[in-house]
Amino acid sequence: MAHGEAAYVLSLALVFLKIGVAAYGGGWTIVGIIRTEIVGRAWLSADEFARLIAVAQITPGPVALNAATLVGFKLHGLAGAAIATLSVVAAPVALSALVGLIAAKASKRGGRLTEALKTGTIGLISMTVWAFAPSAASSYMSAGLAALAFVVSAFTKINPLWLILGAGALGAAARAFFG
């Protein structure tokens, strides 16, 4: 049993290490990869993952980090939370340390690389959108809230947190009154 446990913890670490390497373009870009890896391996169900994401976005801190911590905690308690979190930031922290040592002004010469990374990160965010878009079709309320969230955050400067909390309050009221 202990051997199986160790292998499981190791694969948790490796999955998040791998995800951390590709974490370009901000947190939401890699939430789609996290979902594919975690739900694809049946470590969590799609519903459990959706609840984790809901919690991750109302907790302080970058959403992808929060998602990693929550997934680790759900799968393996405190140790899992620590392992998933440290794994997902291992590559970013190591590369940040390295880039600072080698070339502080790397970005000035990196115009082409920046463009190439933009191409890649648009691909990553597409994966995230693709992963979550079907859940907008699950009910009229979901569809309405998703459409509202899109319009507000694409065309206004309103902090998305208000949307998240407002939608949460609406959901709570709906459950409380209609079950």
């Binding site: 609840r51 809901a54 939370a81 502080a104 970005s107 463009e115 190439a116 507000v152 949460g168």
Partner: protein
């Protein structure tokens, strides 16, 4: 605001840790919300002016990782060396980690209450819209050429369909578009 002509005392481990711990503890919403808050705070302290901050921010984006974390690491090192780097790491990481442990335990106890379940369902319902808006903004802000558009569409399809191969496919897409950018500019 004030410029940094006067020789300020160099910030130490606890100063840097305190600043990032405070920002991380009260700012919900990830990098796009946190980065401007970091900028204003360290400018107010006289640690770094706005232009140098956005230089660091640009460099931080060349490294993978959450924007808020990378920016904090680069700023921490710039103002206080390796100790500042470590202080920024701990300051950014500890508040979410601790609040998640607390929140996850609380939700373990009350997560099945109808109102709590409803709240989480509602909070999740905005995610498809938020992520689609992020994609929309990335697409809108970019300077497009026919080649870039073709490569981006091909890359998006490849990455979306790649399942657990997404990470290597992502780097392949970046490598190919890097090569294509070079050929175009030569």
């Amino acid at each position: 605001m004030t410029d940094t002509d006067s020789p300020d005392r160099k910030p130490g481990f606890l100063d840097v840790f305190g600043v990032f711990f405070g920002i991380s503890a009260v700012t919900i919403g990830g990098g796009y919300v946190m980065v401007p808050v970091i900028q204003r705070t360290i400018e107010k302290r006289g640690w770094l002016d706005e232009a140098s901050f956005y230089d660091l921010f640009a460099t931080a984006q060349s490294v993978p990782g959450p924007l808020a974390l990378n920016t904090a690491l680069f700023v921490g090192r710039r103002v206080a060396g390796p100790r500042g780097f470590a202080a920024a790491f701990l300051g950014i990481m500890l508040p979410p980690f601790a609040s998640i442990l607390v929140l996850a335990s609380v939700l373990g106890a009350i997560g099945e209450w109808p109102a709590v379940r409803g709240f989480l369902e509602g909070a999740f319902a905005v995610v498809p819209g938020l992520t689609a808006a992020l994609a929309f903004n990335m697409i809108k802000k970019r300077r497009w050429t026919v080649l870039r558009a073709a490569m981006t569409m091909a890359g998006a399809v490849a990455i979306t369909l790649s399942g657990s191969w997404a990470v290597p496919v992502f780097f392949a897409v970046v490598a190919v578009s890097w090569l294509m950018e070079r050929r175009r500019t030569c």
